[in-house]
């Protein structure tokens, strides 16, 4: 079976319970077990080939440009871990079937479990370190789900988050490490990397890569100081703990160290970092385990300790040590999984995992007792069980290790670790199973059904068998996997009895010491309880809480919703970047002469400056500010005229008046004065920013006006061809409707959308809280009588038709003289506005039948259709045609297709302006305006007629 298929099977298995989520535990368990079993079978079929020294590979291109490919390999190491993952996985699946209660959603559980299994299997079968990273992080994610499976338990949630954060951190570091490693080796394929030992170890990036990768491995394998997450992950259901923390997740780190052992090990850096970390972890965790009251917690720390042991062995960097490490991986998986399942059974049957509440289960649960005791004794390293064998090997390797010139330090510390290990193992047996029976167990304990104990029993049998016949039971596996780790053929000699030697003596000492320590257990517990030990969880919580608070504080203060700050940052950024860009470039100095200054423009300039200053000074008096804005707009328009831009002046001034009307309509409901609510310092700062920005922008304008174009402008072409090709004398208008008609098309769309937005907002406001507020509106100022004065009404009756004629004129002449659809639209809008002002909105509205929505839509479509029309001539959008048409007896017209476009502009402008006014007026009417029946309030002729 292809390695890729083997790796994929668990994921397929994960889908099954996910799809069959309602079908209950049995279906889910069976489907998962089937998938696992097939995968295991597939793996085992490769054993002969691997025994023969082959490496089975499968390669699929995924992302070749990155070097991330779905390459899989099965060698000895992969085989060992694969068998552990799938074999123990199978047992866990069976065990979980009986462990989970009816209320637990089993489908979800099995889906997560298989996801995790797949991720683990992916790690060990990957032949590409980037692919390995993918699976690596997937284990973090799936374990997050598994640990947090019982959502209602806070410990579960916190443990899950902690596990994810810590292993996630390591995983992230590893990404960097792997990328560096791959870059040095020139490939991300493990096969290639394993060939690049010299290059890697000679590279200046070796140490960073090593550190980063080890950070990943250590966090995953819960090595000191990252050991704290593992015990908290015990909040997971026991099958999860048993799986994650005996055979799989925590072993991923070990796997990685073993996998990269040929290229990374053998340097002093490797030895001191890895071996020391392993040693410290082994001793420290074992010491902590002695004092744990929770069975699973005790086992968890023991796991940490054993992982330390294996890490230390890998750290030694010798082939013999690697063999020992591999062997212990197997042994640890068997006895630890059995122990976790035992703990789960005890928890399941008695209702508690607290050692203090247990004891005397020996007779009540004889089967469990037998299994637990065998596994625990193996963990203690007592012959003839398998734990003894690998511990002997470990002690032997420790005696060979020299730490900073000190030949016995490692051995002594390792023995101490073994001693603690004996102590907690014996404690597990002694305090749970021995002693008097109690009558206060939460549930009445008895042995569980066969389903629950069969899996640990099988493992216990393995423990014994491997212990008794190591060479035949496990020798082959150790051989192939150790060969894969070291990269050279290994032929380990595993035997129960090695003769009387130093390791045996150390082992005996550890046994004796452990027993003594157990005897002292109670006073030690008391003593330890008296000392305030730093709680890793508390520290982690404190750090994350502090980080969360700091992030909250920082985010809240920085992004505090102040627009002033946002805009100040904007202005300063622009000014600083602009200054910097200018000062680092070259400027030849002024090349254009200045225009002479005439007195009248000077007056206009003075008016503009004074009005602007006053505007700022008086901006709090809002109406005054508006009047001043009007002056500024007037002056700007005049300057456009003076500087040869009549079209601009027309547009600016007509936009001006509509803007004023809009602002006044809005201001009716807004406060008439702006209160001061910024401090002097802020105002000073703002004034500074404003001054700097103004100076900068003014200077930029000055520099531009005094410099020549570096290249001839494209507008020369437009001046030359406006009439010839565009059919118009007014070049600005030809640019607008022809050269750059597409811009104008966009521009009227903007206007239309603006009106639609205003309309939609009005609807929303009227229907919401504002509508209610408006219905109870009280005007904040005294109001005069006579809303629709007679004189205005009469004059408007003349002005409206005249303005319509003027609008038509401006529209028609636009192509050749200043004007055009936009200005015409504004003129007509302004005329209509004057009618609305004279006789009121409702009265006027009733008398006209135009729908402004339709006007906008028609405008945009008219412009669009004019453009689309060109398609039928096989020309691009907006290609124009023109000609002079002389209808008999009537005005000579230029009929340009651009005029259709301009008509669209006209309609859109009128529609948009009027729709916006309509919306504002609706707000006013909601606020209790009355609707007049007559065009004017006072009409003496009416009385006369009566």
């Amino acid at each position: 079976m292809s390695p890729a298929l083997i790796a994929a099977l668990p994921f397929i298995g994960a889908l099954l319970p996910g799809l069959l989520i309602r079908s209950g535990r049995d279906v889910a368990a069976v489907s998962c077990a089937t998938a696992t079993f097939i995968a295991l079978l597939g793996l085992c079929l490769h054993i002969p080939a691997i025994m023969a020294g082959e490496v089975i590979t499968a390669r699929f291109e995924w992302l070749p440009s990155l070097g991330l490919n779905a390459n899989f390999r099965i060698d000895g190491l992969g085989l060992l871990f694969g068998i552990l993952i799938l074999g123990i996985g199978l047992l866990i699946i069976a065990y979980a079937r009986y462990y989970l209660s009816r209320n637990d959603p089993a489908g979800v559980f099995y889906a997560y479990l298989m996801l995790f299994q797949g991720a683990m299997l992916g790690i060990v079968l990957s032949d590409n370190i980037l692919l390995l990273l993918v699976f690596w992080e997937l284990t973090s994610l799936s374990s997050f789900l598994l640990i947090g499976y019982w959502k209602h338990l806070p410990e579960g949630r916190q443990g899950a988050r902690m596990a994810l954060t810590v292993t996630g951190m390591g995983g992230l570091a590893m990404i960097a490490g792997m990328l560096i490693l791959g870059n040095i080796a020139g490939s991300y394929d493990i096969g290639d990397i394993l060939q690049a030992r010299e290059a890697i170890q000679a590279s200046p990036y070796y140490l960073p890569a090593l550190l980063l990768i080890l950070l990943g491995a250590f966090t995953k394998s819960a090595q000191f100081p990252f050991h704290f997450w593992l015990p908290h992950a015990m909040a997971a259901p026991t099958p999860v703990s048993a799986y994650l923390h005996s055979a799989t997740m925590v072993k991923a780190g070990l796997f990685l160290m073993a996998r990269l052992w040929p290229v990374l090990s053998g340097t002093p850096e490797w030895f001191y970092i890895v071996a020391t970390t392993g040693l410290v972890t082994m001793v420290l965790a074992a010491w902590i385990a002695i004092f744990r009251d929770d069975l699973k917690s005790l086992l968890a720390f023991s796991t940490v300790s054993h992982l330390g042991l294996i890490t230390m062995l890998l750290g030694f960097g010798t082939e013999a040590a690697a063999v020992a490490a591999v062997f212990h991986i197997i042994n640890h998986a068997t006895f630890k999984a059995a122990l976790f399942m035992t703990a789960g059974i005890i928890d399941h049957e008695t209702g508690t995992r607290s050692i203090a509440r247990l004891g005397g289960l020996r007779r009540l649960m004889p089967v469990t007792f037998a299994i637990g005791t065998i596994a625990a004794l193996s963990m203690a390293g007592i012959p003839p069980l398998n734990g003894f064998l690998s511990k002997e090997l470990m002690l032997e390797q420790a005696t060979h290790a020299v730490w900073q010139g000190n030949p016995w330090l490692m051995a002594a510390m390792a023995t101490l670790g073994a001693l603690f290990s004996v102590c907690y193992s014996l404690r597990f047996v002694w305090q749970v199973f021995f002693g008097p029976e109690r009558d206060d167990y939460p549930h009445k304990p008895h042995d569980p059904g066969f389903g629950l104990w069969s899996a640990p029993a099988l493992l216990a049998v393995l423990v014994v068998l491997i212990g008794l016949f190591p060479a035949s039971m496990a020798g082959w596996l150790v051989e192939v996997s150790a060969s894969a780790v070291t990269g050279t053929a290994q032929h380990p000699h595993l035997a129960l009895w090695h003769g009387l030697n130093l390791p045996l003596a150390l082992s005996a000492a550890a046994l004796a010491g452990g027993a003594v320590l157990l005897a002292l257990n109670r006073p030690m517990l008391a003593a330890r309880a008296a000392i305030a030990w730093p709680d890793a969880k508390a520290i982690f919580d404190a750090i994350t809480r502090a980080a969360t608070c700091a992030a909250g504080f920082f985010t809240d203060r920085l992004t505090n919703g102040s627009m002033s700050r946002a805009l100040a940052a904007f202005a300063l950024t622009v000014v600083l970047c602009g200054l910097w860009a200018f000062s680092t470039g070259g400027w030849q100095g002024a090349t254009r002469p200045m225009l002479p200054v005439q007195p009248v423009p000077l007056v206009g300039w003075a008016a503009l400056m004074v009005a602007t200053c006053c505007m700022v000074a008086f901006h709090r008096r809002r109406i005054l500010a508006l009047v001043l804005v009007g002056i500024i707009g007037l002056m700007v328009s005049v300057s456009f005229i003076y500087l040869s831009a009549p079209d601009l002046a027309l547009t600016q001034i007509s936009v001006e008046v509509v803007t004023v009307v809009l602002l006044l309509l809005a201001l009716n409901f807004l406060p008439k004065f702006t209160v001061i609510d910024s401090r002097d310092r802020k105002r000073g700062m703002d004034a500074f920013i404003a001054t700097v920005t103004g100076l900068g922008f003014g200077a930029l304008a000055y520099v531009i006006m005094r410099s020549d174009f570096a290249f001839p402008s494209i507008s020369e072409y437009m001046l030359a061809n406006s009439y010839k090709l565009g059919g118009g004398d007014n070049v600005v208008n030809v640019i607008l409707v022809d050269f750059r008609g597409y811009d104008t098309f966009g521009e009227i769309t903007v206007l239309g959308i603006a009106a639609l937005t205003i309309f939609a907002l009005t609807e929303t406001l009227l229907a919401g809280a504002s509508g209610r507020r408006l219905r109870n509106w009280v005007h904040d100022s005294r109001r005069a009588g006579d809303r629709h004065p007679l004189t205005l009404v009469v004059v408007t009756r003349l002005i409206l038709p005249i303005s319509l004629v003027v609008g038509l004129y401006i529209f028609l002449r636009g192509h050749n003289m200043p004007g055009g659809g936009f200005v015409a639209g504004l003129v007509v809008s302004v005329a209509l506005v004057s009618q609305y002002m004279a006789s009121g909105f409702a009265w006027t509205q009733e008398r006209q039948k135009i729908n402004y929505h339709a006007l906008i839509g028609a405008g945009v479509i008219a412009a669009g259709l004019t453009g689309i029309g060109a398609w039928f001539a096989g020309l691009p959008f907006l290609s124009s045609a023109y000609g002079y048409v002389k209808l008999p007896g009537i005005e000579e017209f230029e009929l340009a297709s651009a005029m259709g476009f301009d008509l669209g502009v006209f309609l859109c402008v009128v529609g948009a302006v009027m729709l916006a006014l309509n919306s504002l007026s609706r707000i006013a009417r909601q606020a209790g305006e009355t609707v007049n029946l007559d065009p004017m309030d006072i009409d003496p002729s009416k009385e006369a007629r009566r």
């Binding site: 008046v657 506005v833 009121g840």
Partner: protein, 89 residues
């Protein structure tokens, strides 16, 4: 001769603009300011016409018409705002 006349008129209307500006800035009430703004628009129309005479162009005529229209509408709008608050009711 016309040049001197134009120069004189430019000066007059320029100065007039400044007077209006003074009244916009220093005024006892809003209505005075609106009046000053209206007068400014009228002065600007005169200036534009002078400019047209000066440069011999009729190009700026629509602008003058526009200023007249705008001056009227905005004056009425401001006044109506003072009187009623709502300018389209």
């Amino acid at each position: 001769m016309i040049a001197y006349a134009l120069f004189f008129a430019y000066g007059c209307f320029g100065l007039a603009l400044l007077f209006c500006l003074y009244r916009v800035v220093f005024a006892p009430g809003l209505s005075d300011r609106v009046l000053a703004l209206d007068t400014m628009a009228i002065n600007v129309i005169a200036l534009l016409t002078l400019f047209g005479i000066d440069k011999g162009t009729t190009m700026y005529f629509e602008a003058s018409l526009m200023f007249a229209m705008v001056g009227f509408i905005s004056t009425v709008a401001y006044a109506k705002f003072v009187l009623r608050g709502d300018i389209i009711e």
